[in-house]
Symmetry: C2
Subunit: 237 residues, 2 copies
């Protein structure tokens, strides 16, 4: 019945417009009573985004079940992928809703409040992980916002392609940018959990590792050892 | 008259609650007619945030007037400081509004839509600056979101201190994190516009420059020159 209500609502929204459609119109087309509608959806706006509550619950559960050894930035990127997956499961519906949301300011406001709840879920998890560090909450809030912005950039790009692009590849690319900016490794932890020293520097990836040699050393290291390391790094020893 | 309406509205919101106060109550206390209210404020929500439209216009103007040589991340951080300044100009009012907004879901939704407009203004400017680059819009969206999140983290921290903390220092610290993550220099460009090589690495600051020596070199550089540079860097030449 829930699916029938969503289908009826979208048929009417597309035919008449969102504002011109009442809950009475929707229940009449679906052949159910008003009480049935409000059992599933608190308001007309909620029927436009029928899967966000479930997705938020999935995301919260996914984050709560995180193994303690997992890299936090990678984890929140994976959590964001749950949202894209929800959109990508039904491209036609997602693209229709995207067009509708752009036209109706009230839906845009509703969407912002949903996005904010996803962002808070990610930030809460990161705050827990960064709890003991200096600037832990700042770092958590900024990374959560960056993940959401990257996800939404990819999502909008996919929606503008009318769902024709590869959604997973688009979001992987966008989240890769965030992971490489904030994560402790670019490609994820090595099997033993240690970052790959050839690909990262201060926890950030070296963009053209083949062209550039980077040496990081303590100032009090013996010079002969530094030179030896450079020779090895340059492949000339 | 605009200020009188804001003062009357806040007196009533604090005495009776936001939902229990009508526009008629506000105009009666301010001693003006309903038409005067709606000349200044489209809705009751707008009287709660009387300065955002002006601040958004200031921000847009500030970004539009950016010299082409200025560092984009630094510029959007400075633009965000305009918002904090607006809050810090009137701590009592800002703290009262913060408490009110936390209690009223409708005001929270309004605030989210305002925050989103600030974020779009920053992102539009950055999209213009990064237009030709690969991933220009992705980078612009992520940095704009990071700046807004850092600003809001600092703003909330200041509001929770009841306006007692140093607002400018708090936001400088938070925006410094974003600048050091994304900007091309940590402390801003040198007078000639070039980044300071001692303080940055791949555009990111070295956190403990006194303890660590970092050398970045092309792989095809002559080895003697590399060694010479290391000796200089280690202060042993």
């Amino acid at each position: 019945m829930r699916d029938a209500l969503v289908a009826a609502a979208f048929r009417l929204f597309l035919e008449r417009g969102y504002e011109q459609t009442t809950v009475d119109d929707i229940v009449a087309l679906a052949g159910v009573g008003r009480r049935s509608f409000f059992r599933y959806f608190p308001s007309k706006e909620d029927v436009v985004f029928p899967d966000h509550e479930g997705c938020l619950a999935d995301m919260t559960g996914f984050l709560a079940a995180s193994p303690p050894e997992c890299e936090p930035v990678r984890r929140v990127c994976d959590a964001a992928r749950l949202v894209l997956r929800m959109y990508a499961e039904n491209p036609t519906f997602s693209v229709q809703r995207y067009r509708l949301t752009k036209q109706v300011p009230g839906l845009r406001a509703y969407e912002l409040s949903v996005v904010w709840r996803y962002e808070r879920a990610l930030a809460e998890y990161l705050r827990g992980r960064y709890g003991g560090r200096p600037d832990g909450t700042l770092r958590a809030d900024v990374i959560a916002a960056a993940v959401v912005a990257a996800h939404n950039n990819a999502l909008r790009s996919w929606l503008r392609s009318d769902g024709a692009d590869d959604a997973a590849a688009t979001v992987d690319h966008a989240l890769g940018y965030v992971q490489s900016t904030f994560g402790t490794t670019a490609a994820g932890p090595a099997p033993d959990g240690s970052p790959d020293p050839a690909a990262t520097l201060f926890g950030r990836p070296v963009e053209h590792p083949d062209d550039v040699v980077v040496l990081v050393s303590r100032r009090d290291a013996p010079l002969w050892r530094v030179v030896q390391e450079i020779e090895t790094a340059f492949g000339r020893a």
